[in-house]
């Protein structure tokens, strides 16, 4: 794909992102409840003071003007002050973001490395016991509520077997100073292998819980597309060429079968963001998801607004990446 086509596609994102920003803005602007009243709480102030406060927040200006101010600020990552933390929203989010990204990435990896081999095996051994088990398993995977599955895992591995920790990102004894905020990375940078192992043990259960629905979906997608691909003439032709079975399955069939899997994985990564809120709550994971849930309860509007925008932008970008991956993997499609 040429650079100019890529740029063109990137430009096409602009209206989408504008729309998304407008929604995030309006969500807050039109939500019942006056932020000024919330800030005042039960303190008593004069109407003049209240008007002053309103002007200070820019709330006295017309909606459209406020939207452009919001946009301009957002472009500079300025989302105002978190009422609760009394610090810039962007700082608070930046602090929590690595934990969430790390958890999502590990969940994604867990999903990919289990779903793809299972899907391929289920397709090759269609209607075998393994295929049936995988089918039932994936049905459960998409339908089980995440918190329920998470609690089940905690009860089994943390409470009953006591081989994995219940919550948090790392034990107190292994804490290391922050470099990137990604603990799996930081512990390695410190050369502290035991701490790395500890962080890994902590992330395992939440990552599995978070990745479960995605594993189930990706397995189904891989199985279906693999079955479809195995019926194609080019697989028969590869067999007619007398290629080793390995090569027919993994080079000829899988390379094509993975095209939908990879696209769906990129799109589904966006849905991990939603799953994060529940999983982080269940596993006491100090990430963005938990922060957002807390902020909603605290009516910490600026933070919620910034998070919504962040989620939406991430989602749009992931879809964009899915498109790009699809074309990169599929030489037939030109952007």
């Amino acid at each position: 794909m040429s650079l100019s086509r890529l740029l063109e596609r990137l430009l096409q994102l602009i209206p989408v992102l504008l729309g998304v920003s407008a929604i995030a803005f309006l969500m807050m602007a039109l939500t019942p409840g006056d932020p000024v009243q919330i800030m005042i709480g039960d303190q008593s102030i004069t109407p003049e003071q209240e008007a002053e406060l309103r002007r200070g927040l820019g709330l006295d200006r017309p909606l459209l003007e406020r939207f452009f101010i919001f946009l301009g600020n957002a472009l500079q990552f300025d989302f105002g002050t978190s009422f609760y933390h009394r610090r810039p929203v962007s700082d608070v989010i930046a602090e929590r973001l690595p934990a969430t990204i790390e958890l999502s990435l590990v969940a994604l990896i867990v999903a990919l490395v289990t779903a793809i081999p299972l899907g391929v095996l289920a397709a090759i051994r269609k209607n075998s016991i393994l295929d049936r088990l995988a089918t039932v398993g994936s049905l459960l995977g998409v339908s089980l509520p995440g918190f329920w599955f998470g609690i089940l895992l905690i009860m089994l591995f943390a409470v009953h077997l006591q081989i994995l920790p219940v919550s948090g990102r790392i034990g107190y004894s292994s804490e290391v100073s922050t470099i990137t905020g990604f603990l799996l990375f930081d512990t390695l940078l410190h050369g502290d292998l035991p701490a790395f192992g500890d962080a890994l043990r902590h992330i395992l259960l939440p990552a599995i819980t978070l990745g479960l629905p995605m594993t189930a979906i990706l397995m189904r997608v891989t199985r279906t597309s693999m079955l479809e691909v195995l019926r194609q003439d080019y697989v028969t032709f590869a067999d007619a060429k007398g290629l080793p079975r390995r090569r027919v399955l993994f080079r000829h069939a899988l390379k094509n079968a993975l095209i939908p899997t990879v696209s769906v994985a990129a799109i589904e990564t966006g849905s991990l963001l939603g799953g994060n809120m529940i999983v982080e709550a269940v596993f006491g994971w100090p990430g963005l998801g938990r922060l957002v849930v807390e902020s909603i309860f605290l009516r910490n509007y600026p933070l919620v607004q910034a998070a919504v925008l962040l989620y939406a932008v991430t989602y749009v970008l992931l879809n964009f990446i899915a498109d790009i991956l699809y074309t990169v993997l599929n030489p037939r499609v030109k952007l």
Partner: protein, 329 residues
């Protein structure tokens, strides 16, 4: 000429919900070294399944249930799947009807060519760099052989970047890469327009003469058979109904089905004409009664034809599956 491929009494069945479909029923055939055998018959008569069976490429729910297949003195039906992989692509190669779907859209044609050599060619050097160079040279050579201009630069391209005729040539190049003793060309021209058809057939004939390779040319086109094949075999409803030297069979067909096929084609302009179907329907291949399968459509049919009909001698080197051959002398 010595026999290269000898198939006896081959039967291939597909199990479907409604019952067993006998797609190939009692097919026997022989191909000598360097010979070109034409295989004709209406669509659905079992041509492709016959040759897929020979290559061991029938997949469930299909199964070869009976018969022997000897190739170059070796018993193919007795071979393990792994042994068959050593025969396919090296000794027996195949091209499929539609090159667009037969070439993998996600792999470059260079890779699709090279992998056959990697799988089968023991003469390649073992050193990594030398091996790479040798493979590349062979790929360029093969593409040149089938008439792809500037092959060097086209190895890195994907199938969709080639025209239909070029793709057919590439598929032929892949099939010929290991210099097989037998090429099975399954309707190599059906998907192409007329001028390209002629070029592709010339190419196969030309290479066949140069490599001394035998060819089984499956086609709808009796004109193609007349021009390129030494012998011809006519299939109907999963059986061979007539076989013999091309000139004899086309000049003087003995089986009523073959006569019907030829009658429907204006003689001087035979080439390029598809087979026009004869009145009536091909019988359902499920649960056939033991009787002449052409009975319902045959102008010579008699009640005495309602028995199982074997292949009968129909002149020197010729056989036909009909009880009333004396009517067609």
């Amino acid at each position: 000429m010595t026999v290269l491929l000898e198939v006896t009494n081959l039967r291939t069945e597909f199990s479907a919900r409604a019952g067993l479909v006998r797609a190939v029923d009692g097919v026997s055939l022989q191909i000598s070294r360097g010979e070109c055998l034409g295989v004709v018959g209406e669509s659905g008569s079992g041509k492709s399944v016959t040759f897929s069976s020979i290559m061991g490429l029938v997949r469930p729910p299909g199964r070869v249930t009976q018969g022997t297949i000897f190739f170059d003195g070796r018993d193919l039906r007795g071979m393990s799947p792994e042994e068959m992989r050593g025969v396919r692509g090296r000794d027996i190669a195949m091209t499929m009807q539609d090159a667009l779907t037969a070439l993998n859209p996600a792999l470059t044609i260079g890779e699709q060519l090279a992998e056959v050599l990697v799988a089968h060619d023991e003469t390649l050097p073992t050193g990594r760099a030398a091996r790479r160079v040798a493979i590349k040279d062979r790929c360029v050579e093969m593409l040149g052989l089938v008439g792809i201009p500037s092959p060097d630069s086209r190895l890195r391209q994907y199938p969709h970047e080639f025209s239909g005729g070029m793709r057919q040539r590439i598929m032929i190049a892949i099939a010929l890469a290991c210099r097989p003793k037998l090429l099975i060309a399954d309707e190599p021209t059906t998907a192409l327009d007329v001028t390209i058809q002629a070029q592709v057939l010339e190419l196969i004939s030309d290479i066949r003469a140069r490599m001394g390779m035998a060819v089984a040319l499956i086609t709808h086109d009796l004109g193609v058979v007349a021009e390129h094949c030494d012998r011809v075999m006519v299939m109907y409803a999963g059986q061979v109904v007539e076989e013999g030297p091309t000139e004899d069979v086309i000049g003087h067909p003995r089986h009523p089905y073959t006569r019907g096929l030829l009658a429907s084609i204006p003689r001087p302009a035979m080439r390029g004409q598809p087979l026009t179907p004869i009145k009536g329907q091909v019988p359902n291949l499920m649960g056939l009664a033991p009787q002449c399968r052409f009975h319902s459509r045959c102008p010579l049919a008699e009640p005495s034809c309602l028995v199982e009909v074997p292949m009968l001698s129909a002149g020197p080197g010729r056989r036909a599956r009909c009880l009333r051959l004396e009517e067609t002398v």
